[in-house]
Every structure is written in C-alpha cells, then in structure tokens.
Subunit: 422 residues, 2 copies
C-alpha cells in the first residue's frame, strides 16, 4: 500500500478528489430546493461522477464529453423511436420497439469493433446504446418520455461538469505532461545504458554489480507502447496547458516512442551477448576497447542531452557539439572494425567483440533517427531555440551551457580516466 | 467495415448476440405480470446487460461476477450506513452520510490503484462505490431503502444472468481458446521467419521480395504483452471448456509469451542487420553458408513442430527428431565459427556474417528455452503423450507422423536443393 502511494503521490490526491466530487454532487439529495427539479433522477448525477472521473484530465474530459454527447444524441433518437413506435397503436408498439432496439444494439456493437472508433469513442458508443434503450424501452411504461429524456440529459451534464471541474481545478494531472515526461524518461534510460555499457562489458568479472540497475532500466521501454498510446489519446482531449499549446503535435510522440522501442529491442539483444558465456577478455586490444567505450559513452551523453532538451523544451540551434562527438566516435569505431584492428587476436574473441560492436553501431544509428524525430517535434511544437553564440546573459542559456560544460568536463575526465587505467 | 468483419467473423455473431440479449431483457417492460415486481427498477436489468456483455465468455463472466458480488456487498453496507446515519436524528443524517460517502469513495479509489486489484477487480470496485453511494444517498429521500436495495440486487442479477447465458450458450467465444491459439500462432510466426531467413539473407539482391511478408510477421509479437495478459485474465474466469480442464495452467502462457517476445526482440535486431548497407556477398564461403541456412531452417522446423504440438495438444514423448537435428545444426555452425571457417575471406565480410551468426545462435538458444517452457506446459496441462514406437493405428499418431515425415522430406529436399545450387 505504501509503495502504491510512494510510486506516485498524486494517487492519494486523486482519491480525495473522487470523494469530494461525489460528496459535492450528492448535495442534490440533501437540499430540498435542489432536489425538487430532478427527483430520483438525481442519482444519475452521482452515477455519472463516479463513472466519469479518472486519474488524468484528458481521460476525464474524454469520458465526460463522450458521455454527454452520446446521451444527448441517444436521448433525441430514443424520443423519436418512441414516437414512431406509437403511431401504429398500442399492440404493435412493443414489437416495433423490440425491433428498433435489436437493430440499434447490433449495429452499435459492431461499430465498437472498428479500431478508430474503439480508440476514441468506445465509451460514447456504449452510452449511446444504453441511453437509447433506456429511453425508448422505459418510454413504453412512462408516458412522460420527453421529461425523462430531459432529466437524464441534464443530470448527466451536471455530474459530468462536476467531475471535470474537480479534475481540472484541484491539482490537475495532465496526461500530456505525463506523456512528455515518459518520453524524456525513456530517453534517459537509453542514455544511462549507453553510458554504463562500455565499462560494464569490458570489466564484467572484476567489478561488483553496483550499476546493474541503470543497465536494466531500459527493460520497461520494451512494453511501453500501450501506455504511450493511451496517454496520446487522453492528451488529445486536453485543452492547452503549461508549455503545451493548442494542437500540440501529440502524434509525434508515438513516432519518438516507436524509435525508442526499436533501440531498446537492440539493447535487449546486446544484453543477451553480455549474459552469454563467452566474454571478451580484459586484454582485448587496447585501441578497440578505447574506441568502443568512447563511442558508447559519447552517444549516451548525446542522448542525455536530447532528453534534457525534451524536458526543458529548449533546443540549441545548429548541431550540438555532443552529437558531433558521438558521430566521430562511432566513425572511429567503424573504421577500426573495417581495417581489422588487432591482427594477433584470437578469432573467437574477435567474433564476439565484432557482434557487440555491430549491434552497438546499429543502436547508434537508431539514436540518430531518434534525434531527427526530436528535432521534428521541436519545430512542430515550437521549442525555444537557443543560439549558441548568444551572450546576453539569458539564464536558460547559461544553464544549458553549464550542462554542456559539465558534461564535457565529465567526458574529458572520463577519457583521462580510461587512459590512466591502461 | 468489410475488413473488420473479415478479420474475425465472430464479431458479427457477437453484435447479434448483444441485440438479442437486450431485446430479451427488455421483455420485462412489455409484459405486465413481469413488470409488476420491479417497476421502473427493471431498467437496471437492461443497463446491466449492456454494460456486462463482452466479446469473450471470460470477460463477460468476470464483469458479471464482479458486478453481482460488488452490488450485493455494497447494497448490504449501504443499508447499514443508512441505518447508522439515521440514529442521531434527521439533522445530522446528511452530514454523517456525506462523511461515510467521502471516506468510502476515497478509500475505494485508492484501492483501485493496487496493481493486483486493478487487474481482476477494477470493475467490481467501481460498482461497489457506485452502489454504496446510490443506496446510502438516495436512502435519504426514499424511505424504503431495503426494498430499493433488494430491487437493485435482483434486477442486476437478472441482467447479469441474461448476459452470461447468451454469451455462453450462443456461439461462445472462449478467451482461453484465443490465448492458446495466439501462443501457437506466435510460435508459427517465429518458425516462418527462421525457415525463410537463411535463404533471404544469402540471396538478398537476386530474388524478388515475394516472401517478405512471412519474414515480417514476427513484428506483431513485439507488442503482444498487453493482449496476452488480458486474455490470461479473462481465461481465468472461464469454466472448463473443450480441451481445457479446471485449473488449466493459464499463467504458464505468460511465461511462453515472454520467451517468445525475447526471441522476437532478437529477430528485430537481426532484421536491422538485414536492412543495413553492408551485405555478405553471395560468394561468402560455402561451408559456412550451408551451415547457416541449415541451422536456421532446421530450428524453424523444430519451432513449427512445437507450434503444431501446442495446437493439437499432443506431444511426442522423448526428444523429437527435429529438435535433435536443430541442435546438431546449431553446434555445427558454432564450431565452424570457432575454428575461423574461411581463412581467405575479407575481414569486413566476416565481421558482418559473424554478427548475424551470433544473433542467430542467440535466437536458437532462445527457442530451446521456449521448448522447455512448452514441455512444462504439456506436463502441467496433461497434453496427450505419443509414444514414438506406438503402432496401434492411432489416427492422431498417424497424422502426427505424417507431419514429421513430410517435414523431414521437405528438409532433405531442401538440403538437396542447396547442394544442387552450389
């Protein structure tokens, strides 16, 4: 229980929000002058709040709008069906109503299988079917169908608005923000793998398993598709908020996510090599080892830079120095591989190392594609652009520069460190 | 629209089933002597049918049982809360009711975040919250709370049973069967990749892209986790049906699925090599090429054997000949790699080929794990065991033997074919 709360403290707030919204809407029952208008239909408002209120604003809005619109449409249609069935007389009415209900229920159930409808309007279709059946069928007994339809629509609107109001104005949870952070987090997981991998691979037997956790973090990316898709779907219902303007390119996140997953699949394969029995011995040729660690960690840093650019929604104009460094390191590794670096080495070892190196190069190619798609996002979503030669004391720029400098100094330290060991 | 129906014709049947169930339950409104007992509460039965009926039996049962049990429990508790709030007098009643509702709603909303509860009882918790609020709150106005609670429980039971009845007895769709078939299909996709891959890799430029489709089929495995998990969850609600007995080991399918996905991740990485610019030239040493194609296609056949064993739920006792063949071929490839097969060959080419070969060997190791987990399933689920030396004219055995023989003859033809080309 503690873990559930610690994982995301917003869950506790959400629980209180649900309690508050239901208590608010149940006031209709307690105050006489509020109750008079609706009578026992007021329970539809309570029911709507409970069913509509969700964790994120987007999900609540999507459900609320679906429910409101579907109820209105189905109420109108049900009222029409009731009148149509009334025309031929009392005897035929149940038969006609039965036929209408059957046809509508079967059609709507089939439409719910359409992938596009399923994603965005599944709940609306369910409510459409439900309201139509309730209005047209119970209209057979209750003569005041119009009043019933009216009451149902208005109580549902009240419930829906209460849920949406509480959800938006009390500590809102934005699906768009969650999606944006998820994308940045996933990039950071890739980055920490790449930064740690070179060292891990060449020193496997000698060091304790301290940084294994950061090397395993990428595993959560493998199955992230579903949650990403639902977040995108929720985010598209949301109004502009924070740095996300109207028509923010949410679908671009799916592209970035899919490339990130492709990268993670390759890392998973690479990890298979790490866990296999044959390991490159620590003596495997020096040049190669240096090139390898450098390519991996420089790319890790470049990806980390992308992640922080995502997070702050600022992107340096032009090529960033880190990307150029990572490309250089990769080219270096490639040419070493091509020229058959270590002549005296055992063929078994070279085969193992070659596999790891090719996979790594494949991963680096993947990160380049990710970088492209993030630049695409940046131009679509109008990220802040930082001129590298700007010197007006812009605090954002200073911060950004500090990040670059510190990562550069780490890079050179790191490099130095390697040389020292050798 | 046509595509949705063609993909799975059971969808059309399902749509008619929904129409039928709703029409059945709405009979309560049309016949006077049925209507008398429930009055306008009869609409709860219609509502329950619409909300509970789902595509598969397991999903319907899960929702129906959740709804029934939650309504019963919450009805009892709501009745108790109503009485408790009545004790101090009319003035304090709304305040006490408000506090009860707030506490219960907040608690249940929080419990819904627990992963275990979310998977199996999410819907039940929602309905629990809903019914409690309805009974305790509307009890403030309606003095006959007990009767209302009783009506709500019984109409929901009627609706739930109608939905479950229609779902089970008219062309049932079993989630367990779907899960079993999904596992077998995924294995077949792996098998067709492995069978086609060797040829594809070594003849890339020369042949048309005819069998690309079978090489791409594995991609759907990559994101199969979510649908597998929900099918397992549904299947666990289902009664014994067809070959699946009581307490069928559904969770073992998750293990098989996770191993299948691991295999697919490696195939995705391997496919990255297929699409990269550097390709092994057709002249790459003969021995190696033969060993490579053989290892890949023999393993493909072994996996296909496993898939058909899954599908027919029969497993030959002892090691099947195909598995032994595939292991031999893999060992052969390994030893060729170890001894540094082709001395005269260009280093760039050998590096490329070595990468593909290591990945392939990793995939073969993965398929062995899959085979183990299927044998585990076979013993847990009491698959039929076929003695290889049985000669009593068992038709299943004959069929199975035919499969083995035909695959063997294809194998030898295939082998012959390769030699001819060379």
């Amino acid at each position: 229980m503690k873990k559930v709360a610690e994982d995301d403290p917003r869950r506790i707030v959400h629980s209180f929000k649900v309690g508050l919204a239901i208590t608010l809407v149940s006031l209709f029952y307690y105050f006489d002058h509020l109750y008079v208008g609706f009578g026992s239909s007021a329970m539809w408002a309570v029911l709507t709040v409970i069913v509509v209120i969700e964790f994120s604003v987007g999900a609540t809005l999507g459900k609320g709008l679906n429910r409101g619109l579907a109820t209105f449409l189905a109420g109108t249609l049900g009222f029409g069906a009731h009148h149509l069935a009334n025309l031929p007389g009392r005897e035929l009415q149940p038969i006609l109503l039965g036929i209408f209900v059957f046809i509508l229920a079967a059609t709507v159930s089939f439409i719910r299988f359409f992938p596009r409808m399923k994603v965005r309007y599944d709940y609306g279709l369910l409510i459409f079917m439900l309201t139509f059946c309730l209005i047209s069928v119970s209209g057979y007994r209750d003569e005041e169908v119009l009043e019933m339809a009216h009451k149902r629509v208005s109580t549902i609107l009240i419930g829906g608005f209460t849920a949406i109001f509480v959800c938006i104005f009390i500590c809102p949870v934005w699906a768009g923000e969650d999606l944006h952070n998820l994308a940045a987090n996933n990039l950071e997981k890739l980055a920490s793998f790449l930064e740690g991998f070179g060292d891990e691979y060449f020193r496997k037997s000698s060091e304790p398993e301290s940084n294994k956790a950061s090397l395993q973090a990428y595993k959560s990316i493998l199955n992230s598709k579903q949650s990403e898709e639902s977040l995108v779907n929720f985010a598209r219902w949301e109004p502009p908020h924070g740095p996300f303007r109207f028509r923010h390119p949410w679908k671009q996140y799916l592209k970035i996510g899919s490339l990130t997953r492709q990268c993670a699949y390759r890392i998973e394969a690479l990890n298979g090599c790490l866990n296999s029995d044959v390991q490159a011995s620590p003596e495997t040729c020096r040049n190669f080892r240096e090139a390898f660690i450098k390519a991996s960690s420089e790319t890790g840093k470049a990806v980390k830079g992308l992640a922080s650019a995502m997070r702050t929604m600022t992107l340096p104009t032009g090529d960033c120095p880190q990307t150029a460094k990572s490309k250089n390191a990769a080219d270096n590794l490639k040419s070493l591989l091509r020229t058959g670096l270590c002549e005296g080495i055992d063929i078994v070892e070279i085969l193992e190392v070659a596999t790891v190196a090719s996979l790594l190069l494949d991963i680096l190619a993947c990160t380049e594609k990710i970088s492209e798609s993030i630049h695409e996002l940046a131009s679509l979503a109008h990220f802040k652009r930082l001129e590298p030669d700007e010197k007006d004391g812009n605090p954002d720029l200073d911060k950004q520069k500090q990040v670059w400098q510190s990562s550069n100094s780490i890079a050179s330290n790191h490099h130095h460190h390697i040389i020292t060991i050798e």
